[in-house]
Every structure is written in structure tokens, then in C-alpha cells.
């Protein structure tokens, strides 16, 4: 009897093995980027942007740039992605499939610090270059990973520019309120902001956090109101940023400046809040309107690569088939593609070790801005910009070299905004 069973089992195993029969491996003569993308699940929003950004830049490299030069030959780029559902179980298995079955030459990390960390050991074990475009936690780079390279800037620096700017335009504004989401990422932003604020001589009058998925911030904001801050900085993700601004309006809490990470720079933010978002600011890795261009690069002595900003936006729209403006998730993913191209060309090879070494020495500029990593792979060459909503438009107000308009300060009160006042400087 057990014979029959084992025959069955052998059959079962055979069917099993057939199911997994490997697909044709990637032919030589092209360079393949593999990406366990977050197309669904909790990071679907950022994931879609990242895919659009990568597709746009791959397109540009193939059609405009003419391919990646390796050993005298121009090789086209190819982009291969699967959906990891924003879940860690899928990340590892998909990365391993991309490396071993699809034979990709480089892995792009999924969105978020957690998922980036999940994939890192697998990429490391295959000695495969691992491009981090959506994991901002500084701690990733203190773990001793050797193949990880960051394009997004580290979390600790998100609010530094905002504070510098206010310090400059209004030296009398001293009272700062910090209210961030209680997550590994936002807490790191908060720690960086607190340190920087103290250095500049600001007084922290309020410092609290709220958990992920919060639905009502009223109690926190009532306490914030009582602290009478001049400047309010905080935030965490998308939904809490909208809630933050909206409930500040509902409770009539006015401050000279309000800056929120992640949410405030997105078009959906203004669409949801309309006039209430006037004058609200947010730091961003990249924003449509930044002035990075080949001339700029020449001025600071950096090589330039990649599409111009408008080209990028057009390619992005084409890649997604939707008429939306890319946000910084798209730009940083796209910039990672350009970094990869530069790295491969510099190394003269697609070998991950060599490309990683070349990326360590690389410094360049693209539509995304400066790009430079330190020994651990941490991004140090990219500075963030500060964006303010002025008359329904996003205006880059800081730093001076990237600026598209002047800062409107102080922010109009919510009562003024309700009457239709816009934060447009005269």
C-alpha cells in the first residue's frame, strides 16, 4: 500500500517541480532591473509612483541616451517587476526569483524601511546590488550591508531646511511645536528636527507623537494650541497629514508656519483641503518645478545625466498611462536608475561588486538634484527642498538655489483662509 502512496508522492513532486520549471534566463546583451514593487496593499500609492519613475527613466536611457555603454557596446535596459503586496513574505521570494530565475543585474528595493530591510539579506547573500529608493531610516546603513545604495535622503534631515529658512526670515520666531507620527521613520525625522532646532536656538514648547492610523487628532491639537507655538512641524504619512491640517483649521489653531512631512507636498493634499492648505509647507526630496539643469550641474562641477524635468514628467505620464504629475517617490526611484547607469558605465561592467564600488565614488546631478553616497551607502549628496502652497500651486521656497518663488510668511490665519485669502506673496 505504501508503495502506491509513494508513487503518488513522486508524481506529486514531479508535478511540483514542473510547476516551477525555470523560465528562459535573461539573454546577455541587456541589463535588467528587478523590482519587488508595492503595487497593492498599504504602500500601493508610493509603489505606483516608483514604478512610473523607473519606467520613465528606463525609457529615457533606451530611447534618448541610447543604452548603457559597457565594454564599448550599448546595452538596453529592461525593467522587470512583480507585486509584493507591501508584505514581507513576498519580498524575499520575489527578490530571489528575480535574481535566480530572471537573472536580473540589480535589485530595486520595495518601498518603506521595513520592506527594504527585509530584502537586504537576500540581496546580500547573492552579492547583488540593492538600490534603496524608499527606505529612509538611517539605521539601515548601520547594519553593515555591503550592497545597498540609497537614493532617498536620510530621515534625520527632513526638517532641517525648514528650520534654517524660518531662522533666517524671522529670527524672532522661537517657539516650535513638534507633533509627529509614532513610527520609526517619523520619529527619526523628529529627533533630527529637535536637535537642529536646539542648535539654531529655537525653544521646543510642545513635543508629542500620535500613532499610525490615527483618526482624530483633536485632543493632541487642543494641547498644542495651549502651548502657543510660532512654528508647527510634524507629520508622518499621507492621511495623518491631511487630518493634521484639517483639524488645525477646525480648531482654529494659527501659527506663523506649518510644515508637514510626506503629505503636504502631494497634489492630493491640496485637492482634499483646498484653501485650508494655503501657506502650508512641506519638505520634499524632489518637487515638480525644481531648477536642476545641466547648466546648474556645470556650475557646481558635477556631471549631468538624465532627462530634463519636463521630459521626465512626460515620460512618467506615458509610462503610467495616467495624467498625473510625478511626486518625489517617482523622482527618487527614477534617479536610482540614472545612478545605476552611471555606476555601470563607470565600472565598465555589470558586476555588482564593481558597480557598487563605482557608485561609492560617483557624484552626479540629474533632474532629481545632487547624488552622492558615503561608504555605508547612505545618501549624503542630495539636499531637500521646501515647498509651500501658494494660490493652489506648489512653490519651491527653499533653498535659495532651487527656489521658484518667495516664501509667504507668516501663513494666513485659518479664518482668513476660510474667507478666501491666498498665500501668494506680492
Amino acid at each position: 500500500m505504501s508503495n502506491r502512496c509513494s508513487i503518488r508522492m513522486i508524481g506529486f513532486v514531479a508535478v511540483f517541480a514542473l510547476l516551477f520549471a525555470t523560465h528562459a534566463s535573461a539573454a546577455p546583451g541587456k541589463i535588467v532591473i528587478g523590482h519587488p514593487a508595492c503595487l497593492s496593499g498599504k504602500y500601493a500609492k508610493a509603489g505606483e509612483q516608483a514604478i512610473g519613475g523607473i519606467k520613465a527613466c528606463v525609457d529615457w536611457v533606451n530611447k534618448v541616451y541610447g543604452g548603457v555603454t559597457v565594454g564599448g557596446k550599448k546595452l538596453p535596459l529592461e525593467y522587470k517587476y512583480y507585486d509584493c503586496e507591501s508584505k514581507k513574505e513576498a519580498v524575499t521570494s520575489l527578490i530571489s526569483r528575480l535574481i535566480t530565475v530572471d537573472k536580473v543585474d540589480c535589485i530595486f528595493a520595495p518601498y518603506s524601511s521595513g520592506l527594504t530591510l527585509r530584502g537586504a539579506p537576500v540581496a546580500e547573500s547573492h552579492k547583488m546590488l540593492y538600490m534603496d529608493h524608499g527606505g529612509a531610516n538611517n539605521k539601515i546603513f548601520r547594519q553593515g550591508f555591503q550592497y545597498i545604495v540609497q537614493t532617498i535622503g536620510p530621515a534625520s534631515r527632513y526638517h532641517e531646511g525648514t528650520l534654517d529658512m524660518i531662522h533666517k526670515v524671522d529670527p524672532h520666531a522661537k517657539r516650535v511645536a513638534l507633533a509627529y507620527e509614532d513610527s520609526e521613520f517619523a520619529k527619526m525625522v523628529m529627533a533630527g528636527a529637535e536637535e537642529h532646532a536646539k542648535k539654531l536656538g529655537f525653544k521646543i514648547v510642545f513635543k508629542r507623537t500620535y500613532p499610525k492610523g490615527v483618526t482624530d487628532l483633536t485632543p493632541l491639537l487642543s494641547a498644542l494650541k495651549a502651548a502657543k507655538p510660532d512654528i508647527v512641524i510634524g507629520g508622518g504619512h499621507f492621511e495623518d497629514g491631511q487630518l493634521f491640517n484639517r483639524q488645525m483649521a477646525d480648531l482654529d489653531i494659527n501659527a506663523n508656519a506649518l510644515s508637514l512631512i510626506a503629505a503636504a507636498t502631494l497634489p492630493a493634499f491640496y485637492k482634499a483641503l483646498t484653501g485650508m492648505a494655503e501657506g502650508v509647507m512641506g519638505p520634499s526630496h524632489w518637487e515638480y518645478g525644481v531648477k536642476y539643469a545641466p547648466e546648474e550641474a556645470k556650475k557646481v562641477g558635477l556631471p549631468w545625466i538624465g532627462p530634463s524635468q519636463d521630459e521626465f514628467v512626460n515620460l512618467f505620464k506615458k509610462a503610467l498611462g495616467k495624467d498625473i504629475i510625478p511626486d518625489y517617490h517617482a523622482a527618487e526611484a527614477g534617479a536610482a536608475v540614472l545612478a545605476l547607469v552611471m555606476g555601470i558605465e563607470k565600472a565598465g561592467s555589470v558586476d555588482s561588486d564593481k558597480v557598487r564600488r563605482a557608485l561609492g565614488d560617483l557624484e552626479f546631478m540629474s533632474f532629481y538634484g545632487g547624488w552622492d553616497v558615503d561608504d555605508t551607502g547612505l545618501q549624503v549628496g542630495h539636499s531637500m527642498v521646501d515647498v509651500q502652497w501658494q494660490g493652489g500651486k506648489r512653490v519651491i521656497v527653499w533653498p535659495a538655489e532651487a527656489q521658484t518663488g518667495k516664501l509667504y510668511y507668516p501663513m494666513p490665519t485659518f479664518a482668513e483662509k476660510a474667507k478666501g485669502k491666498l498665500a501668494v506673496p506680492k
Partner: protein, 333 residues
């Protein structure tokens, strides 16, 4: 009773499948991580099934045990990383901590929630899971919401090569072992007094009580066993494989739902069910994400509804009825 070897025949197909997974994974390129994912789902199902399958109680907060297991391993590694003599012993300490913490939590939950039945039990366990997570975040214990990242510690203890092999190979082997052990315990319970008592309980708890069966004792035994396996699974599939722990990720209720889906798909209360459920669930997820990225959940949800409505017994449940009376009967349980 123990002398009868046929009692353990149903384990043969289970172990053959796990062995096959190991062999496919280690011999075919690119298959290991997929097998690791399947092993995780199978192990999750096997462990969950010990309690749910035998008692019919739905523990919606089950993921909390995986969570504390993850914390157990994380705490062991981060707190003891400076003790150099430990070597591989640190993993054993971590696993032991995971077991202890899962046991303690299950005792606490058991004392409270197991007095409740049906939907009340399910809601209470959700409360425990969420409450525990918010306690960690709110009281800022174990680094609060910032969690812990400890690849650096693993590298420091084992060196880069070994640490990498630990995350990408040995953690998965451990998961397979846990799955196999859970299967063994499931069968052992089924064939012993506990199993009969719990079957009586599942059919009619009050009647079982009247018949003099010490219902609470057996319920708690099954509950703790199931929790301990979850703790081990968290320690290996999460803490070792992904050397970080963030509270919102390890207490995510979706994992409980996945466990329920797996068990229900395969057949609750069967030995083979979680294995079959885990394989089908994992494989279909994996291939859907490759073929139709972005639409898995949209496709999955109605399929699950259909299965609940039309095949409530699960695949193995149906198979069991099919093979009844044939020679295969003793292998399918």
C-alpha cells in the same frame, strides 16, 4: 497504544511533502525563497490548526504570539550580543525566550479569553492583540514604536557570511522543522485523550462538561501549544529572517486572517489540511503577483467567499470523505 505504528501513517504524506519542499528548494536554483515562503504559510497553518482545528475557537489575535516570539528573539540578540562566548547559543536563548514569552502571553490570554465563547472569544482576542501592541508603543517598552534592527548584531556575533546564511537559509530550515514538529504534535494530540476531549468540546461544549471532561484544561493545553509554535515561528521566520521588529508589522491582523484562510482552505481539524492550504495559498499568491501584479486581492477575495460557501470542509475534508474505506484512508487525516 503507542505500539501501533499505523497510528503515525498519516504523517508520511506530510513529511514527504516537507522533504520535497526542502529538496526542491535546495537543489533548484531560485526555488529556495519560494519554498521558504510556502514553508512559512504551512507552518502558520499547522500551528494555528492545533487550536482552531481542534476546538473550533477562532483566535483572531493569534498574530500576537508570533509578535512576542519575534520580540523574544530580538531581545535575546540585542541584549546578549556583547557576550562573545555564546556563539550559536544566542539563537537557542532567543528561541527559548520566544517560547517563554509566548507561553506567558498565552497563559494570560487563556485565563481571560478562554472563558468566553464564539464571537465573544474572537473579539476578545483581537482586543488582546491590539492592546498588547499599543502597550508596547504607549509605554515605550522594548524601544516602543522605533522597534529594533539587529542585522549589525548578527554580523558581529557570527560574522557576515554566517549571519547571511542564517537569514537566507537556516531560518527557513528552522521554519520547516517547526512545521514538521507542529504536524507531529497535531497528530499526537488527535490520537490521545486531548484529541477526544476536544472533539467532544467542539461538538458540544456543555455536553462535554456534563460528561465530566475537564474541558478547560484541554483547551488551555491546545491553546498554549499552538501559541508556542507561533512564538517559535515568529522568532525564526520573522526575527531571524528579517532582522528587525517594528510593532505595527508584527502585530498585523492580516496574518491571523491568512492563517484562517489556510486552515479553512485545507480543512480545519485535519492533519494534512494546513499543508495543502498553505501550499495552495502561497503558490496562488506568488503566481498571481507575477502574472497579474496588483490584482491578487481582488481575485482572491471572491474565491475565498466561494470556498467558504460551497466547500466549508476544505480540500482535505472532502478528500477524507472520498478515500473513506479505501486503502488510502490511513494516510489521510
Amino acid at each position: 497504544m503507542r505500539a501501533d505504528p499505523t497510528k503515525y501513517y498519516p504523517l508520511i504524506p506530510v513529511y514527504v511533502a516537507y522533504l520535497a519542499m526542502f529538496l526542491i528548494g535546495s537543489n533548484m536554483t531560485g526555488m529556495w525563497q519560494l519554498m521558504a515562503m510556502l514553508a512559512f504559510y504551512c507552518a502558520l497553518g499547522q500551528a494555528f490548526n492545533i487550536f482552531l482545528g481542534m476546538t473550533g475557537y477562532v483566535d483572531f489575535g493569534y498574530v500576537a504570539f508570533l509578535g512576542v516570539g519575534t520580540y523574544g528573539m530580538a531581545l535575546g540578540i540585542t541584549k546578549l550580543a556583547h557576550v562573545e562566548e555564546l556563539g550559536i547559543g544566542i539563537i537557542i536563548i532567543g528561541l527559548a525566550l520566544a517560547v517563554v514569552m509566548a507561553t506567558l502571553l498565552s497563559l494570560a490570554v487563556g485565563a481571560v479569553a478562554l472563558r468566553l465563547r464564539g464571537a465573544y472569544f474572537a473579539i476578545a482576542t483581537i482586543g488582546v492583540n491590539e492592546g498588547f501592541r499599543y502597550f508596547i508603543e504607549g509605554a515605550k517598552i522594548w524601544n516602543g514604536s522605533e522597534g529594533m534592527i539587529f542585522t549589525a548584531e548578527l554580523n558581529q556575533i557570527f560574522g557576515r557570511e554566517t549571519a547571511s546564511a542564517l537569514s537566507t537559509f537556516w531560518a527557513d530550515v528552522l521554519v520547516l522543522i517547526i512545521a514538521a514538529a507542529a504536524a507531529f504534535v497535531t497528530l499526537y494530540y488527535m490520537k490521545s485523550k486531548i484529541g477526544y476531549a476536544l472533539t467532544a468540546l467542539r461538538e458540544d461544549e456543555d455536553a462535554a462538561k456534563v460528561m465530566g471532561i475537564h474541558v478547560t484544561k484541554y483547551k488551555i493545553i491546545a491553546f498554549i501549544t499552538s501559541a508556542v509554535f507561533a512564538g517559535l515561528l515568529g522568532a525564526s521566520a520573522w526575527a531571524l529572517k528579517t532582522p528587525y521588529v517594528f510593532p505595527p508589522e508584527v502585530f498585523e491582523i492580516h496574518y491571523t486572517v491568512e492563517a484562517i484562510i489556510i486552515v479553512l482552505l485545507g480543512g480545519a481539524g485535519t492533519l494534512l489540511g494546513p499543508l495543502v492550504g498553505g501550499l495552495i495559498y502561497g503558490l496562488s499568491k506568488y503566481y498571481l503577483s507575477i502574472v497579474l501584479p496588483g490584482f491578487q486581492l481582488l481575485i482572491f477575495a471572491p474565491i475565498i467567499i466561494l470556498i467558504i460557501v460551497f466547500f466549508p470542509e476544505g480540500i482535505v475534508g472532502m478528500l477524507k470523505n472520498r478515500v473513506k474505506g479505501t486503502a488510502l484512508e490511513q494516510y489521510v487525516l
